[in-house]
C-alpha cells in the first residue's frame, strides 16, 4: 500500500499514525453530522464545542497528509486537547458526577439527556472522548516517530 518514494522531508513512519488520526477525525465528523443533520438529533451546547474542535482536525491533518508535512501534528494538538477536555467534562455531566446545574446548557437541549446515545447504548460524549483520546495518542506517536 505504501511504496515510499516520497521527498526527503516526509518521514514515512509518522505518516501512518497521522493518517489514522485523520481517519478518526473524519469518521467522527461524518458521524456527528449524520446524527445531527440526518437523524435530526439537535446538538447540545457542549456537543457544539466538541464539534468546533473536531471538524477542523479533518482539514488540518488532511492538508498535512497531502503535503506530507508532519508538522500538522503540532497544529492539530491544541484542538485535540481542547476537544478532549470538553468531552471529558461532558461525560462527567452525562454520568451525573458533575451536576448539570454547573453546565452551560440550561436552555435548549440538555447535555445530560439520555437522548445523547447512539443505538440507545453508547453515550455520544463517550464516543467523542474515545475519538479525541485516540487522536491525541496517534499525534503523540507521530511526533515521536517524526523526531527520530
Amino acid at each position: 500500500m505504501t511504496t515510499t518514494q516520497e521527498p526527503a522531508r516526509a518521514e514515512p513512519s509518522a505518516w501512518t499514525p497521522l493518517f489514522l488520526a485523520w481517519l478518526v477525525a473524519l469518521l467522527a465528523t461524518a458521524g456527528a453530522l449524520f446524527l445531527g443533520e440526518v437523524m435530526g438529533k439537535t446538538p447540545c451546547v457542549l456537543c457544539w464545542y466538541q464539534r468546533i474542535a473536531m471538524f477542523p482536525l479533518v482539514a488540518i491533518l488532511g492538508v498535512g497528509l497531502l503535503a506530507s508535512d508532519n508538522q500538522s501534528a503540532r497544529y492539530a494538538a491544541p484542538l485535540a486537547w481542547a476537544g478532549w477536555a470538553i468531552a471529558l467534562y461532558h461525560c462527567l455531566i452525562f454520568w451525573g458526577i458533575v451536576s448539570e446545574a454547573l453546565a452551560p446548557c440550561s436552555q435548549g437541549v440538555s447535555c445530560a439527556d439520555a437522548d445523547v446515545q447512539v443505538a440507545g447504548i453508547v453515550p455520544i460524549p463517550l464516543l467523542s472522548l474515545v475519538a479525541f483520546s485516540a487522536i491525541l495518542a496517534l499525534l503523540w506517536f507521530a511526533n515521536r516517530k517524526g523526531k527520530t
Binding site: T3, E6, F19, L26, L65, L66
Partner: protein
C-alpha cells in the same frame, strides 16, 4: 502519490457512505410515515377541524399547522391560493401541531375566538403579527388579543372560550393525531392521505394536481 490517493479515496468513501446512509434512512422513514398514514386513516380529519374551501371537495389537503411557525406563515398564501384556484375541487383542513413554546396557548386563543365566526380573519391576523408575539425564546401569545381586537369580536367571551375544556380537547386530539401520523415538523401536509415528503410549494402543487387527476379518472 499513492498516499495522496489513499487520502482522497478515503475521504470520498466516507462521503459516499454518508450520502448512502442518509438515503437509506430517509427511505425507511418515508415508509414509516406512509404506513402510519395508512393505518391511521381516521386521524386526518376530525369533526372539530376547521375547513377552508368547498366542504364537499374531493381532494383534501390536511395541514398540521403551528401558529408560531415561520414556514407555516410563509406557506399560508400558497395553500390558500391552491384552494381558491381549484374551483371547489380542493379543500384545506387545519390541524394543530403546537410544537413551539407558547404555541399551545396561541392555538387556544384562535380556537377560543372561533365560535364567533371570522376564524380565517383571526388566523390571518395572527400570522401577519407572528414576528411580534412568537419570538421562540420569549413567546407572548397573550399579545394576540391585542392583534385581533379590531375584528369586532367579543374578547371577553373569546377569553373564556379559550380556557374551556372543549378547546383543550381539540388541542389534545390534534396532538394525538399528530403523533399517530408521525408529523415532526410544521407545516406537515397530507393530500388525500398521502404525505408530502419532498417539502416545497411546487411539490405540494404537484401532489394536489396528481390527486385531482386521480379523482377525475377513477
Amino acid at each position: 502519490m499513492n498516499k495522496k490517493w489513499l487520502v482522497i479515496s478515503t475521504a470520498a468513501a466516507v462521503v459516499v457512505a454518508f450520502v448512502a446512509g442518509a438515503a437509506l434512512l430517509r427511505e425507511r422513514s418515508t415508509q414509516e410515515v406512509v404506513q402510519a398514514a395508512q393505518t391511521n386513516n381516521d386521524a386526518f380529519v376530525r369533526p372539530h377541524s376547521p375547513v377552508f374551501g368547498n366542504p364537499a371537495a374531493k381532494v383534501t389537503i390536511v395541514e398540521f399547522f403551528d401558529p408560531s411557525c415561520e414556514a407555516c406563515r410563509a406557506f399560508y398564501p400558497t395553500v390558500k391560493g391552491i384552494v381558491n384556484a381549484s374551483f371547489g375541487q380542493v379543500r384545506l383542513v387545519v390541524r394543530y401541531a403546537a410544537l413551539h413554546k407558547g404555541s399551545d396557548r396561541a392555538v387556544k386563543i384562535i380556537e377560543g375566538a372561533r365560535p364567533q365566526g371570522k376564524y380565517w380573519e383571526v388566523v390571518e391576523k395572527v400570522l401577519a403579527d407572528q414576528p411580534r408575539w412568537a419570538d421562540h425564546g420569549n413567546p407572548q401569545p397573550e399579545l394576540i388579543w391585542d392583534t385581533i381586537k379590531d375584528l369586532g369580536l367579543d374578547v371577553e367571551k373569546a377569553k373564556s372560550a379559550a380556557g374551556s375544556p372543549e378547546v383543550e380537547q381539540v388541542l389534545r386530539q390534534d396532538t394525538a393525531d399528530m403523533k399517530a401520523l408521525k408529523v415532526t415538523a410544521t407545516p406537515g401536509f397530507f393530500v388525500n392521505g398521502t404525505p408530502l415528503r419532498d417539502f416545497g410549494a411546487e411539490q405540494l402543487k404537484a401532489l394536489v394536481a396528481q390527486e385531482i387527476k386521480k379523482q377525475k379518472a377513477p
